[in-house]
């Protein structure tokens, strides 16, 4: 007469529980891992997408208002200088004088007559 099969012992129960837990762990791992991968892919795709074209807008050109000053073309802007009549400007070029023809009155000539 054959022996009655042994009932599952506690060890078998533990193995079953462990297998189920292991399986669930792997399953959830993969599940959440897949979700995370989707988010990263979406972020990467958004970063590499070309910028969306700006909505067309109508630009109205208006003339730039001219400054309320006088613009002088072709030369240096007028400069007001104060000078002492007795002291010629330092920028005055060296003048040669005709012997005997003194300037008198102190200082040098304020300007020169020349052909124009």
């Amino acid at each position: 007469m054959r022996n009655k099969p042994n009932p599952k012992n506690w060890t078998d129960v533990q193995l079953v529980i462990a297998a189920i837990a292991f399986t669930l762990t792997l399953g959830f791992w993969n599940f959440f891992s897949a979700l995370a991968k989707k988010d990263i892919a979406a972020q990467v795709a958004q970063a590499t997408l070309p910028p969306s074209p700006a909505p067309a807008s109508v630009v109205v050109l208006t003339p730039t208002p001219l400054p309320k000053i006088k613009i002088l073309l072709g030369g240096v802007a007028p400069q007001i200088n104060q000078a002492s009549a007795a002291q010629p400007s330092a920028a005055q070029p060296a003048k040669k004088r005709k012997p005997g023809g003194g300037g008198g009155g102190g200082g040098g000539p304020v300007t020169s007559t020349k052909s124009s």
Partner: protein, 307 residues
């Protein structure tokens, strides 16, 4: 203490002095460039829209002109009468034929432009060919006559500016070498004015001591160009229609007004050394010095009181 203003107008460096440092004098001095701008717009032949160019384009018709153009025209008329026709504004076609058909860039060191100039000649009509009516302030040019007021306009403008500044103090206006002086300086001294050396740019041959008067220099040392390998210049002899053949390099004249001085200097240059000096001395109100091609100088008898 005087105020000094530099600016550019009419193709030249301009200089204005007023021997007073009050705010009113300074304000008046600030207005001088605007005055010149207004005058240049009316009188320049190099501005397409100038009133002078409009008058020239309407040759053959009687044209009502502004007070500015009328005054400058009358100044040119006086100059022609005083010089026996040697100085006239009817030389425009002749001076253009000679090659002076565009503004000179004064920044060029030697004032010489090398160009190919077409051969040509234009007869110079006397100003008497022009008719005018003072009551309607109108001018009618003959169809073949065009005016160039460039020579006389600078002197006229210098005189006008100086007279406008005069109420604020003793004034001096230098329009590219044509100088108007309204009186002695505030300290009672005379103004010192150099006579530029045509052979040494930046140096003076003499220094003049001047009170109320005008002084101007005409010369062939500037605004000149090569034509067929020959140096040409802008001073036209109306008797020939060509640039004046003269042994005078520059002529400087002192006169009661700068307009008279400018016309007299040009006439003396065209006439040449001997005739030019005789012509200056024939008028006691004129004094002058001629610097000749060889570098020598001829002084009129009246010059000693200014040296």
């Amino acid at each position: 203490m005087f105020q000094r203003l530099e600016f550019r107008a009419m193709g030249c460096a301009m200089l204005a002095f007023i021997d007073d440092d009050s705010p009113a004098a300074l304000d008046a001095l600030h207005q001088v460039p605007d005055w010149f701008e207004e005058w240049e717009q009316a009188l320049s032949r190099f501005r397409e829209g100038s009133e002078l160019n409009r008058l020239n384009r309407l040759a053959g018709l009687s044209v009502h002109v502004s007070e500015i153009l009328w005054a400058a025209f009358q100044t040119a008329l006086t100059a022609e009468q005083a010089t026996g026709g040697l100085v006239t504004p009817t030389v425009l076609d002749a001076v253009v034929m000679a090659g002076y058909d565009r503004p000179f860039e004064l920044s060029a060191r030697d004032q010489i432009q090398l160009r190919t100039i077409p051969k040509g000649w234009a007869e110079v009509s006397p100003l008497s060919a022009v008719t005018w009516d003072e009551s309607s302030r109108s001018i009618r040019l003959p169809p073949d006559v065009r005016l160039d007021l460039g020579g006389s306009a600078k002197g006229w403008a210098a005189h006008q500016a100086a007279e406008r500044l005069a109420p604020y103090g003793s004034a001096l206006v230098d329009a590219g070498g044509d100088i108007a002086i309204t009186g002695l300086r505030a300290d009672g001294e005379r103004w010192l004015i150099g006579i530029s050396d045509p052979f040494d740019q930046g140096a003076d041959m003499d220094v003049l001591r001047l009170g109320r008067c005008g002084v101007a220099t005409s010369g062939k040392d500037r605004r000149r160009w090569l034509r067929d390998g020959v140096l040409s210049h802008h001073i036209i002899d109306p008797r020939t229609g060509f640039p004046a053949e003269t042994d005078v390099m520059t002529a400087t004249v002192i006169a009661p007004t700068v307009m008279v001085a400018e016309a007299a200097a040009k006439a003396a240059l065209i006439l040449g050394a001997k005739a030019g000096l005789d012509w200056i001395e024939s008028d006691p109100s004129l004094s002058g010095v001629l610097i000749l091609d060889d570098g020598s100088s001829l002084y009129s008898r009246g010059m000693e009181k200014y040296l």
